[in-house]
Symmetry: C2
Subunit: 355 residues, 2 copies
Amino acid sequence: MAARTVNLAVIPGDGIGPEVVAEGLKVLTAAASEHDIAVETTEYELGARRWHATGETLPDSVEEELRGHDAVLLGAVGDPSVPSGVLERGLLLRLRFAFSHYVNLRPVRLYPGVDTPLAGVRPEDMDMLVVREGTEGPYAGMGGVLRKGTPDEIATQDSVNTRLGVERVVRYAFAKAAQRPRKKLTLVHKDNVLTYAGELWQRVVREVAPDFPAVSVDYTHVDAAAMFFVSQPQRFDVVVTDNLFGDIITDLGAAVAGGIGMAASGNINPEDDFPSMFEPVHGSAPDIAGQGKADPTATVLSAVIMLDHLGLDAAARKVEEAVSADLRVRAEGAADERSTSAVGDDIAKRVAGQG
Amino acid sequence: MAARTVNLAVIPGDGIGPEVVAEGLKVLTAAASEHDIAVETTEYELGARRWHATGETLPDSVEEELRGHDAVLLGAVGDPSVPSGVLERGLLLRLRFAFSHYVNLRPVRLYPGVDTPLAGVRPEDMDMLVVREGTEGPYAGMGGVLRKGTPDEIATQDSVNTRLGVERVVRYAFAKAAQRPRKKLTLVHKDNVLTYAGELWQRVVREVAPDFPAVSVDYTHVDAAAMFFVSQPQRFDVVVTDNLFGDIITDLGAAVAGGIGMAASGNINPEDDFPSMFEPVHGSAPDIAGQGKADPTATVLSAVIMLDHLGLDAAARKVEEAVSADLRVRAEGAADERSTSAVGDDIAKRVAGQG
Ligand SMILES: CC(C)[C@H](C(=O)O)[C@@H](O)C(=O)O
Ligand SMILES: CC(C)[C@H](C(=O)O)[C@@H](O)C(=O)O
């Protein structure tokens, strides 16, 4: 019997989701067998197909079942045939909120050998960890419409920020910063305009800081941060920010760190009251679905964040090293035309020590 | 007597504001004398110094005086000695709102010869016009705080979107797109999450589109747009977006188009019910203030937008060509170490045909 069993719920989802998830599982399985871990998976068909067939995005009973797992691995959800927001809000955001994934962890890291669109930027210039708040802000879904369809229509959209929600994610970010060599935390917000929310974020950072005396604290407006991601990425170590700003700057981060095919994320409930959920930052990319063209690296790196979260550090390091090696080989031009599954095979082989 | 008199209010502001405005006026004066225009300026001391001295950001009487001018040229406001938001909200945003500057016009254009941080991107790949809404959205300043200072504190920040406000800026953007060779309009929003506001923006674009049959319409989520600004800037021609998204993507646009030293903007009231206001996108940069290091190009290009807005097309083209020529010369490395005023001198000379 294995030393440790991981009970994993898998949501392949739409578009390229199933393809990249298959490779993520392939690599996970290889790492598990190296480290005496048993990975037991239960697959859930959720996403566009189910919605078209039954009108359901996430039945309560399925949410309940997911709750019983150690973690969730998700590919991507969304399809042009489904109205914008239905699957995002009904499935993805519903899980983030229901499972209190208040930390949306998104490393922005340039691996050696990976091409960045930024001229002259080296891997050592880009190694940040964005800690995006995941359960409130403008994502709370609050707001409304008055006089709809008339010339006097008003639509509001409200960002909700609580002391509870801000403090827990800020504490998490400080703790992460304290563990890293540079020990720097940057709050990204727009406090000169969003004065109510911005003042709360600033005050919480100020009040939590004394508990982490080794961490230096910085502040950058979100517009300037977007600029600095391009012009001076080395300014940033750990970044903490709200849900919407985090959404924008992490896609930008993916772009500057070599593309969306490499950007990983974890939706984390640090207290483990609920299973955390791991997913690539990219979407379902229906235009290339089913063609074996998608890069599974982002999903594999999301599995690394999962292994770390589950305390399976040795397996996490092994997979991460395999990905690193694979990326270096790509840079040598040896393996550019590989299919999705060939990339998964190559990484899995390296994990098994045959790479 | 000159054929046309322009009655210009000048707000040099803080930090590098006065330096760059001086050069903007130098170039404007040169262009005016070439084109039989008289530029009459009235300077207003507003910004950090005045606030420290009197506690005022914008006295009603000054707002009233500004209202009597044809246009406002602003350098930059803001200083670390003033609490965040005081000058931004009390002066800059107050003017944008009071003068109904519902179009915040921000070209993102890579001039030949200018270095972009993006490898392999050519000037023809980057020529967009961002039409940012300027009078509502999260900038409305609405929201509040409940139970401040307690563990149960809640801070809200509300984005307000009106049919009136959205439609007028969308119509303006369509009209601009119709005048450009590519005739493409991209709405940037986040309608899968900000469903109330996003649905209004989408519906207005759909309803206005038939009035501009030559314009093709596209939609991009703001997170993807941030990515595409880096990876595929050629996707965009005219972009229309809300106040906050526009703030973020135009700073990003400045970064990819060669830096914040070149990014110009116009806060425009198209009906001319109020004077429009022209300002560089950059801030007051107190760290380099008074040293002659600031690039006045963004201010000069903002004056170009002003001349265009005032219908002084010939003068606008002359200044723009002078800037273009100056930027090409920089690329040849001949004039890299010039001071703020030397750059202004060189551009002014070109305008006067002595360049
Ligand atoms: C699909 C969408 C709702 C989601 C978000 O906005 O959070 C995505 O962009 C992401 O970043 O995970
Ligand atoms: C100074 C600030 C209020 C302003 C804004 O957010 O609009 C600035 O960033 C800009 O883009 O002009």
